[in-house]
C-alpha cells in the first residue's frame, strides 16, 4: 500500500508508545481506560488502519510496541479470552464491514469489553460447513415498509441450531452464517451476519465434553431478529466472507511463535528430568523422537514467521495446524504412559465452564483428552490435508455431486 505521507518507523512507534505511557501511566490508569487510550493512539494492532486501532504499518512492528508496553508493565487485553474476536471476527469485519460496522465493533472488541463467538458449525454441517441449514429470511414487515426497491434494507429472521460454540456463554456478539437462498447450490445461498447474543431468541446451552468440562456450547436460534445494518458483506456472498474468517482461524491456531519446549513437549520433558524413577528405554526413545519433532515444528513455525516478516508469505501456514494437532496428541499420550500409576488418575471431573481454552494447562489426563479436539476443531485434519493437496500441490479434487445442485435438493 503506497501513501504519500511517510509511515511511522520503529523509532517513531517507540516514541508514540512512550508518549502513551506518559499520558496514561499504567500504575494510576484504569485497566480499560488504558486499553482505550492505546487503541485510540493506533497502538492496538499497528497493521490496522488509522482510526481503527492501528497506523497502517507492517504487522512486524507490533513487536516494538509490545516490548515497550511489557517493559512498562502495562495492562493487556487478555488476548486468549477474546481470541475469537481478535483472530476471526476482527479481520472479517475489517475486510468486509461497512465504515459504521468497523467503528461500532472493533474498539470494544479489541479492548475486551465485548466478547465474540462464532456461529458457524451445525449438528449437520461440520467439515461440510457449506451444507449448513440455519435459515435467515427477510422480515416481511420491514421489507414491505421499505418498499420494493429497498429489499436490501430489510431485517432478517433467523431460525436454526449451531454447535461447538466456544465462549457463547460469555459473548455479546457472534459472527453467524445462515442460508438465505435454498434454491441455489449450497456455497452460494449463504449470507454472513453479526448476531446479538442478548436477543431473546438466542438460547445458549453448555455442551459437556470428553474432558468433563463445558468449554463449548450449543446455541439455539428461534426467530432471532437481525437488523439490515448487521449484515456483513453482500447477500448470498457469505461463503466468500467466511473464508476470511476460516483462514484467520487456522493461522491463529497454528502459527504463533513459541520458545523451545514451549508447547505440549514442555511438561513431559520437565517430568522426565525431575523423575528419574519413571524412565524406561522405550519411553526415552519415544520422548526424544517427539522432542525432535516438536523442535522441528517450532523451527518450521519460525521460518513461516520470517517469511511473513520478509513479505514472502508461503503456503506453509496451512500445514502448521496439522502438525501441531498430531504432535499434541502423540506427546500427551506419551505423558500419560510416562506417569504410570499417576497417569491413571484424573484431576477433576466436575463440570466447569472455563472462559478460555488452555491446551497445556491442568494435568496429563486432561491434556491427552483435550488434544483429541485439536485434529477436529478449526477444520479436521482430513479436510486440511485435502486443502493442502489441492491448493498447494495442485492435485485434482475428488468428483462431487453437490456443486451444481440446489441446496434444497441435496440429501440430508
Amino acid at each position: 500500500m503506497k501513501d504519500s505521507s511517510p509511515k511511522p518507523d520503529a523509532g517513531e512507534l517507540r516514541r508514540r508508545t512512550r508518549d502513551l505511557l506518559a499520558a496514561h501511566p499504567p500504575a494510576v490508569t484504569g485497566h480499560t481506560d488504558f486499553l482505550k487510550a492505546r487503541f485510540d493512539a493506533g497502538l492496538a494492532w499497528v497493521h490496522y488502519p488509522e482510526g481503527l486501532g492501528g497506523l497502517g504499518v507492517p504487522r512486524s512492528l507490533q513487536e516494538v510496541v509490545d516490548a515497550e508496553l511489557a517493559a512498562a508493565d502495562a495492562p493487556d487485553n487478555d488476548p486468549r479470552r477474546i481470541g475469537i474476536g481478535l483472530g476471526m471476527a476482527a479481520p472479517t469485519i475489517l475486510r468486509y464491514g461497512t465504515e459504521e460496522q468497523k467503528r461500532r465493533f472493533l474498539r470494544p472488541l479489541w479492548v475486551g469489553e465485548e466478547v465474540w463467538c462464532q456461529l458457524f458449525s451445525e449438528p449437520g454441517a461440520g467439515s461440510d460447513l457449506a451444507a449448513l441449514a440455519t435459515r435467515a429470511v427477510r422480515d416481511p414487515a420491514t421489507a414491505e415498509r421499505a418498499g420494493d426497491d429497498a429489499a436490501e434494507e430489510s431485517d432478517w429472521i433467523v431460525n436454526g441450531q449451531k454447535v461447538w460454540t466456544s465462549s457463547a456463554h460469555l459473548a455479546r456478539w457472534a459472527i453467524l452464517i445462515a442460508r438465505t437462498d435454498p434454491d441455489v447450490p449450497k456455497h452460494r445461498g449463504i449470507t454472513y451476519f453479526i448476531c446479538d447474543m442478548t436477543d431473546p431468541g438466542v438460547e445458549v446451552r453448555p455442551l459437556r465434553q470428553i474432558t468433563g468440562e463445558a468449554e463449548f456450547n450449543e446455541v439455539f436460534l428461534t426467530d432471532v431478529r437481525i437488523p439490515a445494518a448487521h449484515r456483513l458483506g453482500p447477500v448470498g456472498e457469505g461463503w466468500k466472507v467466511a473464508q476470511t474468517t476460516l483462514m484467520n482461524e487456522r493461522v491463529s491456531i497454528g502459527g504463533s511463535r513459541i520458545p523451545r519446549e514451549g508447547g505440549m513437549i514442555g511438561p513431559v520433558a520437565q517430568t522426565w528430568r525431575a523423575r528419574p524413577d519413571l524412565r524406561t528405554h522405550d519411553l526415552h526413545q519415544r520422548l526424544l523422537t517427539l522432542w525432535v519433532e516438536a523442535e522441528v515444528a517450532r523451527l518450521a513455525g519460525e521460518r513461516l514467521r520470517q517469511q511473513l516478516v520478509a513479505g514472502q508469505p508461503g503456503p506453509e501456514g496451512s500445514g502448521m495446524k496439522l502438525t501441531f494437532a498430531r504432535l499434541n496428541q502423540e506427546i500427551s499420550g506419551l505423558e500419560v504412559e510416562l506417569l504410570g500409576d499417576e497417569g491413571l488418575l484424573y484431576g477433576d471431573w466436575t463440570m466447569s465452564r472455563p472462559s478460555q481454552v488452555d491446551f497445556t494447562g491442568r494435568d496429563a489426563g486432561y491434556r491427552y483428552l483435550r488434544s483429541k479436539g485439536n485434529s477436529i476443531e478449526g477444520g479436521t485434519s482430513e479436510v486440511l490435508l485435502n486443502i493442502v493437496a489441492e491448493r498447494v500441490l495442485g492435485l485434482p479434487s475428488e468428483p462431487r455431486n453437490d456443486k451444481d445442485a440446489a441446496w434444497k435438493d441435496l440429501a440430508r
Binding site: R273, H284, L288, E316, G319, L322, T323, A389, P399
Partner: protein, 363 residues
C-alpha cells in the same frame, strides 16, 4: 535469531547449479556411469567445482576460495540431492575442507591442500567410514590397517587419515596405499576399503588439534547432509505429484483419490519441516552458533527419515514403473537410505541430543 530463509545470492546460486546439473545428468547416463569403472564425470566436476567455484565456498579468499559459508554450500547440496549427482562434494568440499580449516591454515601443507581443494582440482576425503557420527572416539594408533566404507575414496588425490597420533595427509597413489572399490547400496556415492601398509604421510597436526578438527568436519558433514536429504525429498515429492496428476486409472487422475492426496500432503508437511531443520543447521554452522551441535543433531534426527519416506512413497505411488531399473526413483531411494546411515543414524543423533538437552537415558 537464526535466519531460516534463503538470500537472493543463495537463490541465484541454486538456479545456476540446478541449470548446470539439469543439462548434464539424466537417468541412463547416471546408470551407465554407476555400472562402469569411472563413476564420476570429471567434466561435470570441473564445471561445478572449479568453473562455478562451489568447491571453495567454505575456503577463505586468501586461500583461493570464495569466503562464503555453510548456507551457500547447503544450497549446492540441496541441488546435488535433487539430482543424485555422483560428485565428491560433501566428502571433499565440505568434510575434508572443514577438517583442514580446523588446523593451522598458516602452515604450508594445510594451506596448500586447502588451495587445491578450493580450486576443485584436488579432491580429498577423510578416511573414516561414511557411517561415522560426530563424536568418534576410537582411532588407530598409526598409518596401518584397513578402513572400510570410505565414501568417494576412489576419486581422492589426498586421504586425510585420523589416528591417535594426529591427522596425516597421505597421497592416494603412494606406495602401500590400496583403494579397493566396494559394491555400494547407493550407486551414486561410491565406497571403498582403504588399506595402509608401510605408508608414509605428512602429520598435519597434533592429536588434540586433529581430534577437534575431525569433529568439526563430521559436524559440518552431518549438518549439511540434511540439505542433501531435503533435496532428495523435494524431488521425490514433486515427481510423485507430477506423475499422479497425469496417470489415469478408474477414468480419472490417480492423484485425485483422497487416499493418495493425504499421503502426498503429509509428505509435503514433512518436507516443509525438513527445510526448516536443514536451514537451521546450515545457519548455525555458518554463524558458529553455540547451538550448532544441537541444530545438527535435530536436523540429522529428522531429515533422514523424511528423505527415505519420500523416496519410498515415490516408488509406491508410481506403481510398477517405480520399481523398474530405468526409472530414477530407485537411485533416490538408495541415496536416501544410505544418507540415513551416513554421519550417524537418527538414533545416534538422538543419543547425542539426549546429552545436549538434558533428557538422560534411564540408568
Amino acid at each position: 535469531m537464526t535466519d531460516l530463509l534463503y538470500s537472493e545470492t543463495e537463490d541465484d546460486l541454486r538456479a545456476a547449479v540446478r541449470s548446470l546439473l539439469a543439462g548434464r545428468l539424466d537417468t541412463p547416463g547416471l546408470l551407465s556411469r554407476a555400472e562402469s569403472d569411472t563413476p564420476y564425470d570429471h567434466q561435470l566436476w570441473t564445471s561445478l567445482a572449479a568453473e562455478m567455484g562451489t568447491a571453495g565456498l567454505l575456503v577463505p579468499e586468501k586461500l583461493g576460495g570464495q569466503g562464503a559459508s555453510h548456507r551457500e554450500a547447503a544450497v549446492v547440496l540441496e541441488e546435488l540431492g535433487r539430482s543424485v549427482a555422483p560428485a565428491p562434494y560433501l566428502t571433499s568440499a565440505v568434510v575434508a575442507t572443514e577438517v583442514l580449516l580446523g588446523l593451522d591454515t598458516d602452515s604450508a601443507p594445510v594451506a596448500g591442500l586447502l588451495t587445491a581443494l578450493a580450486s576443485g582440482d584436488g579432491v580429498a576425503v577423510l578416511t573414516l567410514p561414511l557411517a561415522t557420527a560426530p563424536g568418534v572416539s576410537h582411532l588407530p594408533a598409526g598409518l596401518t590397517g584397513t578402513v572400510t566404507g570410505v565414501a568417494d575414496a576412489i576419486a581422492a588425490r589426498t586421504l586425510l587419515v585420523p589416528t591417535s597420533e594426529g591427522l596425516y595427509a597421505v597421497d592416494a597413489k603412494a606406495p602401500g596405499v590400496t583403494v579397493e572399490p566396494l559394491v555400494p547400496l547407493d550407486l551414486t556415492r561410491p565406497l571403498a576399503a582403504v588399506t595402509f601398509d608401510g605408508v608414509r604421510g605428512d602429520l598435519l597436526a597434533d592429536a588434540a588439534t586433529s581430534r577437534t578438527a575431525v569433529h568439526r568436519g563430521l559436524l559440518a558433514g552431518a549438518g549439511l547432509l540434511a540439505s542433501e536429504q531435503l533435496g532428495i525429498a523435494e524431488w521425490c515429492l514433486e515427481e510423485t505429484v507430477r506423475y499422479t496428476r497425469e496417470r489415469h486409472q478408474f477414468n480419472r487422475p490417480v492423484g485425485g483419490f483422497q487416499a493418495l492426496k493425504h499421503r502426498m500432503a503429509q509428505l509435503w508437511l514433512e518436507v516443509v519441516s525438513a527445510r526448516a531443520a536443514a536451514r537451521n543447521a546450515a545457519d548455525a554452522l555458518a554463524t558458529g552458533s553455540p547451538e550448532t551441535e544441537l541444530a545438527v543433531a535435530v536436523a540429522q534426527a529428522y531429515c533422514g527419515r523424511v528423505a527415505v519416506r519420500a523416496a519410498e512413497e515415490c516408488i509406491q505411488l508410481h506403481g510398477g514403473i517405480g520399481m523398474t531399473w530405468e526409472h530414477p526413483a530407485h537411485l533416490y531411494l538408495k541415496r536416501a537410505k544410505s544418507d540415513a546411515v551416513a554421519f550417524g543414524s537418527a538414533g545416534a543423533h538422538r543419543t547425542l541430543l539426549a546429552g545436549l538437552v538434558d533428557l538422560p537415558a534411564p540408568r
